[in-house]
């Protein structure tokens, strides 16, 4: 059995000819939790968007393999079907499309891709209901338009709901903790930990160590100026807390 899930090699990427990712390497094995920390503008969110296939970025060099396949060759929706999930920092609002319809289409598209049976609305309702209960969310959540008028906490919880329904191999949490109070962070982290498959991997992008007391990382990476400049364990976070990013600048 192959342990490796994601392998980013010598990645260089630009947006509008501006270099953002400068020679980045990262390897994630199945079941591991990785944290990427770094100052504003270091390229953390860019990395997550590149992994998901955002069209604004241009890959100049390097390669990304995901579950033995070439990730850069895949359309965004194929990356999703193959098991890559990005929880957005700012989930988008879509008027007139109910959460239920959206979730069912997304769910069935993935089933279709893997040539599995799609669920009719009743069957899907049953499935969604079970997941909602796990996340302590009310069923009326499904009848509202996608993220339309949701509070910050509700939007983030909705991301986790989508994540659990799509059952991904790799979850990227892009500042899932921003703008949330401590209780909400706890609910979300527990929702992830208690429900995610054992060999699914996590990449957590964050500014705040708080979330790490719930989601214990195996590796901590410090990212600066488009590169990972240091990799360690939780100790690194303590050092960072004490001395700030200045301590890592050469």
């Amino acid at each position: 059995m192959i342990k490796e899930l994601l392998n980013i090699k010598d990645l260089k990427a630009t947006i509008n000819d501006k270099s953002i990712i400068k020679d980045l390497n990262l390897k994630v094995n199945k079941g591991e939790i990785h944290v990427i920390m770094g100052p504003n503008g270091s390229g953390k969110s860019t990395l997550s968007k590149i992994l998901a296939g955002h069209p604004s970025y241009e890959i100049k060099e390097g390669s990304i393999t995901f579950d033995t396949k070439d990730l850069l060759e895949m359309e965004p929706e194929i990356r999703s079907h193959e098991g890559l999930f990005l929880a957005f920092q700012y989930p988008l609002e879509i008027a007139g499309v109910t959460n239920f319809d959206f979730l069912r289409i997304a769910y069935n598209e993935k089933k279709k891709y893997h040539k599995l049976e799609e669920l009719d609305p009743l069957q899907f309702m049953e499935l969604a209901d079970g997941v909602l209960k796990k996340l302590k969310m009310k069923a009326e959540f499904l009848n509202r338009d996608l993220n339309q008028g949701f509070s910050g906490g509700e939007k983030k919880r909705n991301e986790i709901l989508q994540m659990l329904l799509l059952n991904p191999k790799l979850v990227i949490l892009d500042e899932i903790d921003s703008g949330l109070d401590i209780d909400a962070i706890k609910v979300i982290c527990e929702g992830i930990l208690n429900n995610i498959e054992k060999d699914s991997s996590l990449i957590i992008i964050t500014h705040y160590p708080k979330i790490l007391s719930y989601l214990k990382p195996d590796f901590v990476h410090i990212m600066m100026d488009g590169k990972i400049i240091k990799t360690g364990n939780l100790e690194l976070v303590n050092l960072l807390e004490e001395k700030g990013y200045d301590a890592f600048e050469k």
Partner: protein
């Protein structure tokens, strides 16, 4: 160098459309008049149809007014000059004498309607919908006539109505849209060939939904139908209208009139899904659609509601309107207009508040793709005696691609200080971030656009009857296919 492959995926661009599904034509023998229009042609139409004298007078009046009028040019449309001398004003399938039943209809024509998914065979009829099928300006047959007759509802072609109910026709025809109302209305009044007539007597809730299906087949003939719906006191009716035409590289003229009259407490709900041939991706061919639709809420508490989904025609010029005369009457207009390639639409409504405590609501959604032009034009007028009246208007436009246009022309005319008029307008573009979000969840670009559009149109689709709503949703997806590369 390796490019992120998805780069091109978002370039929203113009590519070939899904071919028009209804573009076939039916080979049947027709009887046509010589091209062009003069008094003799008008007389000939009237005599051919064995009409009573008042009809001939009505037609000639229309003709005289039309002769003095010029084609309106105020709309935001560029229209190729129409040669009115080169149009056939009357074309009928030849075998038509007076048909006793649908069995006598040319099987080719019945097949055409079958192909369109409209079954006139009562064995296979649509449940709960009575249909009047109009083929090149002539009504081919009406289903469920007997069932309707039991409740006193009259639903037949307007030619039959002129023959069998001349008193009703003489009393009501042209009372909402007069024969000289506008250029196209005058033209229609002088040459209209057929259409539907519907009369709902007092205290009757029409037991079926009524539907007319219009089909243009002949290449050079204009189509001029006329629909008249009368809802007496305490009655109500749901009316649906669908339209298709074959693909020709010539433009064809369609100038119809619909008149609605609602008495005390009566309700008329009129829904249209218009999918005339819209021309090819270079803008060649397609129907010129100039339609005057107007409803009169003459009675207290009466209500008229227009819902339209306009996806076809090369040119659409259409403003379904309500005259709110009766106290506490209500007018509504819900519209989705989608234009693609080189289509042009100038559509909207007029809400004329004359009575007290009258209410109106306008929800308009315009979607423009390709090189198309899509304009909303609406008038809200509050008359001097329309105390405590209200209007709410919401006009949203959605642009796909960089070469399409959306315009909004609201006209507001208020002569009464106790009334309230609200207007909201919004123009949005497909947001790349929204698309990316949906795609990250496994929904491909084309599907994502469809989803965004159907979300955008939801307020209007919910107003359509069930079968129509599904059809409209499908139709939009079909029309959008290929707009995202």
């Amino acid at each position: 160098m390796k490019e992120n492959k998805t780069q091109t995926n978002f370039e929203i661009k113009q590519v070939l459309n899904e071919p028009y599904k209804y573009g076939f034509n039916t080979k049947i023998e027709t009887e046509s008049f010589p091209v062009g229009l003069d008094e003799n042609i008008v007389k000939l139409i009237s005599s051919k149809k064995e009409e009573p004298n008042f009809m001939l007078t009505f037609r000639l009046n229309g003709y005289k007014k039309w002769k003095k009028m010029v084609m309106p040019e105020w709309a935001n449309l560029s229209i190729k000059k129409i040669d009115y001398d080169n149009i056939t004003y009357y074309s009928i399938p030849k075998k038509k004498k007076s048909l006793k039943s649908l069995d006598e209809v040319d099987p080719e024509i019945l097949k055409t309607f079958e192909k369109l998914g409209i079954s006139l065979d009562e064995q296979k009829k649509l449940s709960n919908v009575a249909i009047d099928a109009v083929f090149d300006s002539v009504s081919i047959g009406t289903t469920y006539k007997e069932k309707l007759a039991k409740s006193g509802v009259i639903f037949c072609s307007i030619s039959d109505a002129i023959k069998y109910y001349p008193n009703l026709i003489e009393k009501f025809l042209g009372t909402v849209v007069s024969s000289g109302d506008n250029f196209f209305a005058a033209l229609n009044s002088s040459v209209f060939s057929d259409g539907s007539f519907c009369y709902i007597p007092q205290n009757v809730i029409c037991p079926l939904e009524l539907s007319t299906y219009f089909r243009i087949n002949d290449k050079d003939s204009g189509q001029f139908e006329r629909t008249l719906i009368i809802a007496e006191r305490n009655s109500s009716v749901n009316y649906l209208e669908g339209c298709t035409a074959p693909q020709y590289s010539e433009n064809q003229l369609h100038a119809a009139i619909v008149e609605l009259i609602a008495f005390d407490n009566a309700k008329i709900k009129y829904s249209t899904v218009q999918n005339w041939y819209s021309g090819n991706e270079e803008g060649i061919g397609g129907i010129y659609n100039f339609v005057t639709k107007r409803g009169l809420c003459i009675g207290k508490n009466s209500s008229i509601s227009w819902t339209q989904v306009e996806t076809g025609s090369s040119i659409t010029w259409k403003y379904p309107s309500c005259i709110l005369l009766g106290e506490n009457s209500t007018g509504e207009f819900y519209s989705v207009a989608l234009t693609n390639n080189y289509q042009q639409a100038d559509t909207g409504t007029k809400m004329i508040h004359l009575g007290q405590k009258t209410k109106s609501k306008i929800i308009s959604k315009g979607i423009s793709c390709g090189f198309s032009k899509n304009s909303y034009r609406g008038l809200v007028k509050i008359g001097i005696n329309a105390n405590y009246s209200r209007n709410f208007s919401q006009c949203d436009s959605f642009l796909i691609g960089a070469s399409s246009q959306a315009c909004t022309y609201p006209y507001i005319d208020i002569l009464n200080s106790t009334s309230i008029v609200e207007h909201e307008a919004k123009i949005s573009k497909i947001s790349e971030e929204q698309l990316f979000y949906l795609m990250q969840r496994g929904i491909n670009a084309e599907q994502a656009v469809s989803l965004l559009i159907s979300g955008f149109c939801k307020d209007v689709f919910t107003m359509l009857p069930m079968e129509f709503a599904t059809e409209a949703d499908k139709l939009l997806s079909l029309k959008l296919e290929g707009t995202v590369g």
